[in-house]
């Protein structure tokens, strides 16, 4: 067990691409830290630098007491789980698991003991004699985990280990890995592009974008108090609704105007976003989480905005209602990156700009214009130029 410290780490590739910029990150002993961000944000590069598979251009990386900048991967006492599992195709499951132990010249008896222990832990005992190609995706994934845990390394590094599994299995393995890590108590750095995985698994989550660390925090803090527009747009499903709004300050009262609607900002919100008070007449970015929106009938005390119903998705436990409201919406880079990956750029303009999470069995007709109550205690404010939260 050991902590991991990255100090002002830079990675500039030969072609001049600045993949990771000035990354400082501290992972506590036994902690499960998730590195999350859209593809190309430098998270995998960061992980590979910790593993020693990628040389660092500048800065220091230490594992425990040791600076490992110039150590080869085998001397860093780490284990890594790869996205494609990287199982040795010519070796059986038990040989795959034992590979690292045998390289370290561990006595045969101990090796067998460890294999049996890992296989039992991961439900692999019946498959020990099989070759990787005779296993299902989930089983292969577990073999990769087994190969990592038998070594009892100081740090686990996991590079999108679940992205090759189908959705259902992914949810199941998510819980299993989190539990395994908790039981073993091994420091873990886990890379994913899936923010749900990040939120559910990590003790803390580090959000990266364009090679720069945006925010590191506990999942709930990340959700409640995003440091900037990128984190606000990236964390949370559905993403936060973001609009341009004009702030008006009159004595103690602060209001924000979205299109034609003027919303008084609740004092609780002003406590969190203290700088908003000083921005009378300025245009800022206003963020509203979908669960802070309610049917007007349910919250008669809350101010409302008018929106036309564009689409309703019934989830059983609730409704996902898509509205178009008369306000200038803001699309942070995070949302655009996700959309680009999905090939959905072209239809952005015609899209609904407000997503609300409503209770189930609500009668919403498409095209109908309805009042939507906004719980203004939950509003978020960001600087329009820098994207920083106005705290």
């Amino acid at each position: 067990m050991a902590d991991v410290q990255l100090k002002e780490v830079d990675k500039i590739y030969e072609g001049g691409v600045h993949a990771v910029q000035d990354l400082s990150l501290y992972v506590k002993d036994g902690e499960f830290l998730v590195l999350v961000g859209p593809s190309g944000c430098g998270k995998t590069t960061a992980l590979r630098m910790v593993a020693g598979l990628e040389a660092i251009t500048d800065g220091t990386i230490s594992i425990g007491e040791r600076v490992v900048n110039n150590l080869s991967p085998k001397d860093r006492d780490i284990a890594m789980v790869f996205q494609n599992y990287a199982l040795y195709p010519h070796l059986s499951v038990s040989d795959n698991i034992a590979f690292g132990l045998r390289l370290r010249k561990m006595p045969k008896q101990d090796v067998n003991q460890r294999i049996a222990w890992a296989a039992k832990l991961l439900d692999l005992t019946p498959y020990l004699a099989r070759k990787p190609r005779e296993l299902s995706g989930g089983q292969r994934q577990r073999v990769a985990m087994g190969r990592a845990i038998v070594r009892e390394p100081q740090v686990f590094l996991m590079d999108e280990p679940l992205s090759n599994l189908d959705a259902k299995l992914r949810v199941q393995m998510r819980a299993e890995i989190a539990k395994l890590q908790h039981d073993l108590g091994t420091t873990t750095i886990y890379v994913t592009h899936d923010q749900v995985e990040a939120m559910t698994m990590g003790d803390r989550v580090a959000v990266m974008s364009m090679g720069v660390l945006q925010q590191v925090d506990h999942p709930q803090h990340l959700y409640d108090e995003p440091a900037n527009l990128f984190v606000a747009g990236f964390i949370g499903t559905p993403p936060m609704n973001l609009f341009e709004g004009t702030v008006q300050v009159a004595g103690d009262d602060v209001t924000v105007t979205l299109g034609r609607a003027t919303l008084p900002v609740a004092p609780a919100c002003l406590q969190r976003y203290a700088r908003v008070r000083g921005l009378d007449g300025r245009v800022v970015v206003v963020g509203i989480r979908s669960e802070d929106l309610h049917p007007a009938s349910a919250r008669p005390d809350n101010p409302t905005v008018e929106g036309s119903v564009e689409l309703v998705e019934a989830l059983g436990s609730g409704l996902m209602a898509y509205f178009r409201i008369d306000a200038e919406s803001v699309r942070p880079a995070a949302v655009e990156a996700v959309e680009e990956a999905a090939g959905a750029e072209g239809i952005v303009a015609a899209r609904p700009n407000l997503i609300a999470h409503f209770p189930p069995r609500l009668d919403l007709r498409l095209g109908e214009t309805v009042p939507i109550a906004v719980d203004t205690a939950g509003l978020h404010f960001f600087d329009r130029e820098t994207g920083a939260a106005l705290r």
Binding site: P73, F82, F99
Partner: protein, 314 residues
């Protein structure tokens, strides 16, 4: 018609269509025709050689494809080292066929094994490491392959001659010298072929092994080499056959009858314009072919795999 009725109507037809016994040759008779033609094409020359080997008459033109009498005399003669008509003056000639046989296996085997080994080392470096001169090195290897080895036969002769003065063990008229020359000839193309194959082995396997604690040489021996077995088998076999067939360089470098390889030695039987001993020659050829055929049988599985791998994602 309802869906159910449709299904019922279709059912008996389905039953009819299930094959009880497929009539022989039905429909694809032409496939058998093509395969027969291919077999005839491949077997025809072999048939001639085998027939001549068992034929007591020593000429080719005088004998039909099926000999009148079958004899093992040719084999006996070549193995006892005394070919030619019994009682004739040539009987006294000592023909060390067994030596040639051993030489052939030794030279070809060593060339195959060493060229696979060195080629794999070079290919691993080219496939996995980035170093100064990597591209140049590969291009040079390819460029050299454009010229057949026998273009350099004079240069090779002179080099081996001079090297032999300092290191007689690898000089002219030595098998080790010959092997070295062969290795130089085949390494280039072998390296390219193996590099191509190794490129198809995912990098993450190396990385995983390195994280698991393997040194670069352990990665090579424990991961890359076992996974490259199919291509190693193909290349080994091709080098082996190529070396057995090679004549020009061997005939230039080897002098003593004892040291001849099979091709140089056998050539002696048909070299003499007025005393060509085709029967003995063919017997020698048939025996010499056995190790190749045996190897092919053992490596068949790998060869098919090695030649097709990389075409589709493994």
């Amino acid at each position: 018609m309802t869906t159910l009725e449709q299904a019922e109507a279709a059912a008996p037809r389905v039953a009819e269509a299930t094959p009880g016994r497929r009539p022989l040759l039905a429909g694809n008779w032409w496939r058998y025709l093509v395969s027969l033609a291919a077999m005839a094409f491949a077997l025809f020359p072999i048939l001639y050689v085998v027939s001549a080997a068992f034929n007591p008459v020593d000429s080719l033109s005088g004998s039909g494809l099926i000999p009148d009498t079958v004899t093992l005399d040719n084999f006996r003669a070549i193995l006892s080292g005394a070919p030619g008509e019994a009682g004739s003056s040539e009987a006294a000639l000592d023909i060390p066929y067994k030596n040639w046989y051993v030489n052939m296996i030794f030279v070809s085997g060593a060339t195959a094994v060493l060229s696979v080994f060195f080629g794999a080392l070079a290919a691993y470096a080219f496939a996995r490491y980035r170093f100064r001169g990597r591209r140049m090195g590969m291009m040079t290897l390819l460029l050299i392959q454009m010229f057949p080895t026998f273009l350099a036969v004079v240069a090779i002769y002179l080099i081996v001659l001079r090297v032999g003065r300092v290191f007689p063990a690898i000089g002219l008229d030595t098998l080790s010298g010959l092997i070295l020359v062969y290795l130089g000839g085949v390494l280039g193309v072998n390296t390219w072929l193996m590099k191509g194959f190794m490129d198809s082995i995912p990098d993450s396997l190396d990385e995983s092994a390195r994280v698991d604690g393997a040194t670069p040489s352990q990665v090579f021996w424990a991961i890359i080499l076992p996974l490259a077995t199919p291509v190693l088998a193909v290349i080994g076999l091709l080098s082996y056959i190529g070396t057995i067939n090679e004549f020009i360089i061997a005939s230039v470098l080897l002098d003593t009858t004892d040291k001849f390889t099979m091709s140089v030695g056998l050539y002696g039987f048909i070299n003499d314009k007025y005393a060509q001993q085709w029967g003995t020659f063919c017997a020698g050829v048939v025996l010499a072919a056995i190790p190749v055929v045996v190897l092919f049988f053992f490596l068949q599985r790998y060869i098919a795999e090695g030649l097709t791998r990389g075409a589709v994602k493994g």
